[in-house]
Structures are given as structure tokens and as C-alpha cells.
């Protein structure tokens, strides 16, 4: 019986747990506390600042990332659960120096005001477009209904996702910075 509990974390020690996973295509190995959230590990230990803490209770959608092909709230995910997974954050959706069609479309529609919700909105839009390249307005509303934007740019997000879907269908997934409206 002694090995039960000893493999990962034992009683009341809060011992660090070693977790390895792939983030944006790169293998990483970090030591985390058993009570740490994936949100804190991605932000503080891996420097992925696109993962934002809004409400911290799964209501606002600012901290969502795509983990093993599923959109998940990192504020409600224990870091130890990342073991062996593949995580995609906003930093990894386009190659260095390029913008993804969703980012370009959001800029084209002048969606940004404060931009705090953007990483979440972009990940939720990408999750939608990956599964459904040609969504209807209702499907876009459904896909983004967990993302709160206090500036109220919701209607522009819908326009942007439609535009991004058009770009992607035309084969234009990535854009150079020079092509993006200033």
C-alpha cells in the first residue's frame, strides 16, 4: 500500500510535481505545486501572457486555451492535469512575425477597444473555425457566448469571424504584418 499516493503527491507535503507537456509545439517540463492552476503556470512559469485571468471562475472566457483539441478554461484546470497534453495558446496560432486570419479580421473590423478579452475570443473563434470552417451567425454566437467583452464589441466579433472564415476559405490563413491595416 505504501506506493499509493507516493507516486505523485503524498499527504500534506505540497511537494512539487514534475509535469511535461507540449505548448505551442514546444516540449516543456515544469515543476508545479499540486494546487497550482494551469493559468498561473502558463503565465508565470512559461511567460505566455496571452492567457489572461478575468474572473478566475470559468465565467468570462479570458483564460481559454486549446488543450488536446478542446477549448478549456485554464483557471479551472489543475496544472498537474496538463501532463502529456498538447496546448495551444494565442502565441502559437501563427508563425513568428505573422498574424492569423482571425487576428487580421478582428483588426479589419476595428473590433479592439481595450483588448483584454482578445486572446480568449481568438482562441474560441479558432476552435469554432477548426471544426466548422463556414459557421452561420447563430453558430458564431453560440461559440462565443462564453467570452465576455466589457467594451461590448460582440457584434464586431461576429463580423470578424465571418470575415476570417472568408479569408481561410480563400486559403489566406496567415498574413504578413505589412498586410495588416494600421
Amino acid at each position: 500500500m505504501s506506493e499509493v499516493g507516493a507516486s505523485r503527491a503524498s499527504w500534506n507535503t505540497y511537494r512539487d510535481v514534475e509535469v511535461s507537456f507540449k505548448v505551442n509545439g514546444k516540449e516543456v517540463r515544469v515543476r508545479v505545486k499540486p494546487y497550482e492552476r494551469l493559468l498561473d503556470v502558463l503565465r508565470n512559469k512559461l511567460g505566455l501572457l496571452s492567457v489572461k485571468e478575468g474572473c478566475g471562475r470559468g465565467e468570462c472566457g479570458s483564460c481559454v486555451v486549446i488543450m488536446n483539441g478542446k477549448l478549456i478554461p485554464t483557471c479551472l484546470t489543475l496544472a498537474v492535469r496538463a501532463e502529456g497534453s498538447e496546448i495551444l495558446t494565442l502565441e502559437g496560432i501563427a508563425p513568428e512575425g505573422k498574424l492569423h486570419a482571425i487576428q487580421k479580421a478582428l483588426l479589419d473590423t476595428y473590433s479592439m477597444q481595450c483588448g483584454f478579452c482578445f486572446p480568449g475570443v481568438i482562441m474560441a473563434s479558432k476552435y469554432l473555425l477548426d471544426k466548422n470552417p463556414d459557421p452561420t451567425e447563430d453558430e458564431i454566437r453560440d461559440a462565443l457566448d462564453g467570452n465576455i467583452c466589457r467594451c461590448g464589441s460582440y457584434l464586431r466579433f461576429i463580423k470578424a469571424v465571418k470575415l476570417a472564415s472568408k479569408y481561410i476559405k480563400e486559403g489566406k490563413v496567415f498574413f504578413d504584418e505589412s498586410e495588416v491595416l494600421r
Binding site: 505523485r8 465565467e59 479551472l76 476552435y127 462564453g146
Partner: protein
């Protein structure tokens, strides 16, 4: 907030063994969309979490076996809604419940077992499962026991499940072809809405006559989902028509339903909504059975 340990079990047996060492201070966590929110609000205390996610290959499935529809406790809401089995009209209510369940990223981690185990009135999947007269399978080292879902809850956040038991499966008998169901939840906002009122209806029709009907609400007075048994009895054997349904929701439902007033809605409003939504759901099920 406080610190805690996490134990990641190798399999179900290992998970159950862990209770022997840690006792009641070990709390199982599935999707975490309820527990970790309570933790952040300081409403629960525990010394360690038993991370059930590693048991997903054992406990995540939706299947039909021997006339029973079996749903593994760790099936996520996403997986439930996209399962081939539930595409059938007989399960329309479960699909409704999945569709209006929280937001996309919560649906991809929240589980069926968690929804049942949370014992919260606004548990959409639980309300729908009640209308299918589902039962819950719980396992401990002593073995397995089956508890009907309708006698699973004792109070808000209290169930008959002992701390050393784990929910492994929810199952119900396969409905006949002349049956369908519906689930309706109403709230001002979509996406995060818990709903002021939620109702699930399952009905079996014989022509236009209601052969069997089961109705469940988020609350009938106590703070957990329950069946509206008097209303069901009144409807059984009746012709499913707007007039009949209207009469029953007006005369019978208020007799057995107790609603509370809080900052979200008043008791009168909740009762009125319950009546309107029940009528809508019943007539909707009728249309679904007839294939309209």
C-alpha cells in the same frame, strides 16, 4: 484559499484505495467547474483532491447495452451531445440540455457524473436524466450499489453517496419509439445563465394519449432537482392537447410546487415560468413524437 495535494490514480481500484489512506479529507474532482469555483469562494475545505481525469479511458462512454442506455460518469457534456446514440429523437431532451449547458469551454470539461454529484438545483443534465428515470451506479471498495436518481439527493450539495464512494455510471432503460423528451431553461442571458427555472419532460404517446410522462424541475420546494409526481399522475391517460395541458399546469402544478424568492426572481414569477415552460415542453414533446 488554502493549499492542497493532488492524487492521480492509476485506475479505478487505485482511486478507491486512496480513500482508505486519506479518508474523508480526499475529495474527488472531475471537470472541476463546480468544485474549484467553490474552493475559490472558500466554501469547501479539503486536504487533497483525487484527480479522476486519469480514469477517463475507463469511465467516459455513451452506449446501449442490453436495453439500457449507459453513460460513463466522466463523459463530458461535449462528448454526450456529440454521441451518435443521442442523435435519435427519443433523446432530444438530453440534446437540448447539452446545447444550453453553460459555455463551450465549460462543456468540454464538465462531466455527467459531476453534474449529478454536485447536487445543485440547476443541474441541467440531472434534471433531464430524472425524466428518463435514471439510476446512479456508485462504487467503493466494498462493491457497487445502484441508487435511483430520484432518491440520490438529500439536500442541496448533499447526496446519499458516501465520501469513500465514486459515481461510475448513470443508466436508464432505452425509451420506446413513441417517446421523446424536451428540456427548457429560461434566463435573461444566454451563455452563463443558470436559469431561473428549468424543466425536463419525457413522454410516451399512444396516438394522442399520454401513455407515460415524467416531469422534472430544478426544484419542487427543496433545493435539488425533483420530479413533479402529482402533475405526472394528472396527465397520465389524458389526451395531449393544449386545453388539457393548460388545465393541469394551472390546477395541479401549483399544489405540489414550492418556489423561493431571491435576488434573481420572485416566487410568483418562478411558479408562473414553471407553468408556462412545462406547457411549452409538453406540447413540444408531442410534436417531436409525431415527428413534426
Amino acid at each position: 484559499m488554502f493549499r492542497f495535494d493532488v492524487y492521480v490514480p492509476k485506475d479505478l481500484r487505485d482511486a478507491l484505495e486512496a480513500f482508505k489512506i486519506y479518508g474523508e479529507e480526499l475529495v474527488p474532482i472531475a471537470g472541476g467547474t463546480d468544485l474549484l469555483v467553490l474552493y475559490r469562494q472558500g466554501m469547501v475545505r479539503f486536504k487533497a483532491l483525487l484527480d479522476l481525469w486519469s480514469l477517463r479511458n475507463e469511465l467516459s462512454y455513451v452506449k446501449l447495452e442490453g436495453g439500457l442506455v449507459k453513460i460513463g460518469a466522466l463523459t463530458t457534456i461535449d462528448e454526450l451531445s456529440s454521441s451518435e446514440l443521442l442523435k435519435d429523437k427519443r433523446f432530444a431532451g438530453l440534446r437540448d440540455a447539452c446545447k444550453t449547458f453553460a459555455s463551450p469551454f465549460i462543456r468540454s470539461v464538465a462531466t455527467v457524473g459531476g453534474n449529478v454529484g454536485a447536487a445543485h438545483p440547476l443541474s441541467d443534465i440531472t434534471i433531464t436524466l430524472l425524466t428518463y428515470d435514471a439510476s446512479v451506479k456508485v462504487r467503493s471498495l466494498e462493491g457497487e450499489r445502484v441508487v435511483p436518481l430520484k432518491s440520490f439527493f438529500l439536500d442541496k450539495r448533499k447526496t446519499v453517496k458516501r465520501p469513500d464512494e465514486l459515481i461510475t455510471e448513470v443508466f436508464f432503460s432505452e425509451p420506446p419509439n413513441n417517446a421523446s423528451s424536451a428540456f427548457i431553461k429560461l434566463d435573461r442571458k444566454v451563455g452563463h445563465g443558470m436559469g431561473y427555472v428549468a424543466v425536463g419532460v419525457y413522454a410516451e404517446l399512444d396516438g394522442d394519449v399520454i401513455k407515460d410522462v415524467r416531469i422534472a424541475f430544478d426544484s419542487m420546494g427543496r433545493a435539488f432537482p425533483e420530479r413533479a409526481l402529482m402533475t405526472e399522475n394528472a396527465l397520465r391517460g389524458m389526451e395531449l392537447s393544449e386545453r388539457n395541458v393548460d388545465k393541469v399546469v394551472r390546477e395541479v402544478l401549483p399544489k405540489e410546487m414550492g418556489r423561493i424568492s431571491d435576488y434573481r426572481a420572485s416566487a410568483e414569477y418562478r411558479l408562473h415560468l414553471s407553468q408556462v415552460l412545462l406547457k411549452r415542453a409538453l406540447l413540444g414533446v408531442g410534436r417531436r413524437v409525431r415527428g413534426e
